[in-house]
Assembly symmetry: D2
Homo-oligomer: 342 residues x 4
């Protein structure tokens, strides 16, 4: 097992530390945070870990093979780059960085040094998304026509990033994992309803090269919490409702079919297929454990994880493109040319 150091012990860091220990009780070697109070909390829970106020000391520690970064987004780049240059594998909280250029540098650095660079896109390690992935791979859904997600709730307003970088990041990572076709453009609209605050509501449309579409509805100012995604395939359709305690994924044997006949649609019969629905049994294993296991497995086997640096870069590209589109009232932004630009 690799020796692991965690940088950042605020909101999410304690969960990562707990997960590392659950996967391997001996793996956690050090925790760094500039807050003394945070380090005290860390020490009570993990008495055998080194406690450091400067993350540079953690990176300098030769007992550390891999660094997990759970600090604010604006600091991801500096810390991750330093860790990679010190020869450490890196798992960094989402989003990987706050610009395409920075994300790109990290990917290149990890590639040059043959180190694992992984992003903490937790959703793709959940039983639900794994199950949908399997449905798609098996061909049961047919061609994917669309992915339509609603991810809204009341709060928690972020102060340093807008709702796109906070919530749409989840869906972009899921899309990158599930959909094989290539996104080519994004059009997005957004609004901020509190003065001098980042955008808190946004709608994003993603165009794929094969005609498929994705749409994301993200909002910090909705009366209720909704986490629901419709996925339309040519053979079957899925409703993924993450607020359900069971049956999170429902597969509908439903669709539309064109009958034989003339050239034009008017001359052909449209029929609606309404078959059974089923909800596959889904693993209840905590996603964070699966993710840490994947990180360790990737390190040991020098294999790319599903949420590796390339994937994290593509997510950042989409976040940046979407944000730019919102400032132009939905003007479409092409994807795939941004990487070396900004």
């Amino acid at each position: 097992m690799p020796g692991v150091g965690i940088i950042g012990y605020g909101y999410w860091g304690p969960n990562l530390a707990r997960a590392v220990v659950e996967v391997d009780a001996t793996a956690l070697r050090a925790i760094a945070d500039f807050s003394v109070a945070a380090l005290e909390r860390a020490g009570r829970r993990h008495p055998s870990a080194r406690l450091l106020t400067d993350w540079r000391d953690l990176i300098a520690d030769p007992a550390i093979d891999a660094v997990i970064i759970a600090t604010p987004v604006s600091t991801h780049f500096d810390i991750a780059l330093a860790a990679l240059r010190a020869g450490k594998h890196v798992l960094v909280e989402k989003p990987m960085a706050d610009s395409v250029a920075k994300a790109s540098v990290l990917v290149d650095e990890a590639a040059r040094r043959s180190l694992i660079l992984m992003v903490d896109h937790t959703f793709i390690y959940t039983g639900a998304i794994r199950s949908i992935h399997d449905l798609i791979e098996s061909g049961k859904l047919g061609d994917i026509y669309y992915y339509d997600s609603v991810r809204v709730n009341l709060g928690l307003f972020q102060r340093d990033v807008n709702v796109i970088w906070d919530l749409a990041a989840h869906d972009f990572a899921i899309l990158d994992f599930l959909v094989k076709s290539r996104p080519v453009a994004i059009s997005a609209s957004a609004a901020a309803f509190l003065p001098n605050s980042p955008e808190n509501m946004a709608h994003l449309s993603v165009y794929f090269d094969n005609g498929a579409m994705a749409h994301l509805n993200v909002n910090w100012m909705a009366p209720v919490k909704v986490r629901q995604t419709l996925i339309g395939g040519s053979r079957r359709m899925v409703i993924y409702d993450d607020m359900q305690t069971s049956e999170k994924v429902k597969v509908y044997d439903r669709g539309v079919e064109l009958g034989e006949g003339g050239e034009s649609l008017r001359e052909r019969l449209i029929s609606y297929r309404i078959g059974e629905m089923w909800a596959p049994a889904i693993s209840g294993k905590e996603a964070l454990l699966t993710e840490i296991e994947q990180f360790f497995h990737s390190i040991e086997n020098a294999s790319q994880p599903p949420s590796g640096g390339e994937s994290g870069l593509r997510v950042v590209e989409m976040l940046a493109a979407a944000t730019r589109s919102t400032s132009l009232r939905g003007q479409p932004m092409e994807l795939g040319h941004l990487r070396n630009v900004s």
Copy 2:
């Protein structure tokens, strides 16, 4: 009561005929349809009505004061214009016409002749929308920040119009009725998943002059039927779920508030208000009856109905702008300059 003639006795015409008779059993004078089978059905239900195969004969009938048009969209303009020129009041199925120019001509013609021109935007005569309208007018919701609607189901694919002209027309009429601020631009994306068929899925973002936003998600190819709208106000928020058999409208005393303090958001406290929810008692009266009563009332009092020609024109403007934006991958279309253009 005005003498009424109905043109078009296919899918929706029989409902209109029944509603007219329920409001006033003597009002229905004539029914026109080019299909002999349709006229036979009409005759069995309404034995005292004249049955005509040519709508021109109906318009020429001096016993007819008002014409209700329930024919395909592409025919609305010719029939409505002829009816207005013959001095008849007109109630026309939604959308009013298939272009802004045509809709504009109808509005001008009706205005010149001081005739009532009304569009069959049934939703704004429902108890639910009436109830939301009253909530807004009373100030209970505060400023309206957003209107976010999902209107999806499996089928019924239309062959002559796309999903925007079919389903988004409902939301545009509701928006026109509920929201007092002015829409200034629309960005929309759409896709067609059946070959040679009109777009069956679309997402539309509407920008208002005061910073409010509306978003419409319309889809003929969803596994389940959803008719749900979130309305966010500065004081309260609403969920309107038309699939519920009771409690269609829920009002949430919830919101976000900024505390006093420094200039920047970082220095001010954000607090979340989570108060009670209530579902007002809603009139169960059939919307179509209220609508026909409104039509008669407008004729008798020479007063403009809520879904009058001007409103119907604004709806068509939005439909046309949205459709154009979809062909440019979300490029925003300005509103308000289209009226004389088409």
Copy 3:
């Protein structure tokens, strides 16, 4: 096709008449009702049917082979007996009669004359109950442990029967159709919350000879309408929710299993199986049409329908036993000895 006469054209009779005509437009020969207004309504819809104010005239009509009775419960016995004695097949609204003795006489009379006697227990002709029946017959649910039904709503208070004879009659018929084991006793509690009115809330427990149990919760005074039944089997469990517009029947691959081991439960491992859920596609055909087709089929083939007289008698036995138990605060009433008593 048999010639059919309908007696009683109040609330339910028009539906039966329409269903007869939909199954065979020529089958409906006569309609009897003592109300002239009801007969006028009947005449407008069914101009070719004889209209009679005295049901005895209908029964005397040699063109009538089968009589459908949709009159108040207290009149079922006299009319059905007269019809059977006149050699007519009979379909009677539920419940078949208001006492076990009367129901028993009807069954004997029909048997002696080899006539079809059928009860209008509509639920067992629905797609949902048919689907559950098939699941049970196929062995997919395993042994049936329990049937637990909630059938509550606000109103409609009946004035001549209590909530048991109104609502529990449905569940008893469904039980008789689905469950092969024999009910041996009933314990029931009830209350009337309006003065001088029949009981409007009741809970009924049915004991079966193999240890299975059924429970029925019926209530005219609930704030919302619920129609939900849990069915527990040794292999799978079902939730049947009749208020859903789709997925009315859900099958859960869930259960409890005892591991190998010692004699006592304490020494053996209990494990919980949580597998997939699925909702079979269900026929959307109107139950009343299937029921009328069954009636005609039974007449033509001299075969017993699923809701034949014997089944209807068993339902009445259970209704009578339950009502008696309620007057003794749940004292259990044995079943199977009542038939020749009262």
Copy 4:
């Protein structure tokens, strides 16, 4: 603050220990459990507490003013009695004891010594039940007609008590807290579907002296988890759904009213009132904290808590009566005479 000792550190004990510390970090003095492993866990979380393997030593500790008992039901009586005799206040897990006679002895002992005896009926300290209690006290519901609860799920099978003593105990405590009228009899049915195991499904009907009724449906073998209670009042009705994350309590302004008129129901008009629904804002404070605060408050003020010994005794009376009725297939058991019997 009283010095507190906790006996039993298995499943529920750790929660009680945490709650004591959250209410007052200095209150927890000692923890007893015969399992060394359990004590080690306790020591890590509560390093300043004495750790004891014999509960008698804890009771003998003069630094302990109050004892919290979280051991198996069969041991409650011996431990609680010893604690009371040693002059300690007692908070005991539900149910208070496994027989009416034992519960009665505890109540008498506490009364003789003027000690607080309280039962851990956590539900009555939840925001939801508090809110319903206030609705009833304020008269907003009118007279309470019925309480109808469904408390079913898959597992967790208990080995030493049946489903009544496990789950119905919650509802009996809630009933004792909410309903002022006196329960006079219970009729119950039950079944065990696993061999040699306690009953895992039961239905209980409770008769009150004023005609009100309660019904409890408890089941360890249901496909889904349901925690739903309908409460019918003469003025309003409530649905309490504990599985909801928000809006757990909904109040419906609905009911049935009898018009003026003749003596008999037949001659009087029944009307249905369907008004608004509202969901009050409910405190999200953890019930266990409120409960511990209440325990401390009762000790300091020598005041009876809502879930005091008398209430706990009445719950045990109902549990015992219900279990006896199940062995006689629902034969009703009178309440109020049992206290000195068994």
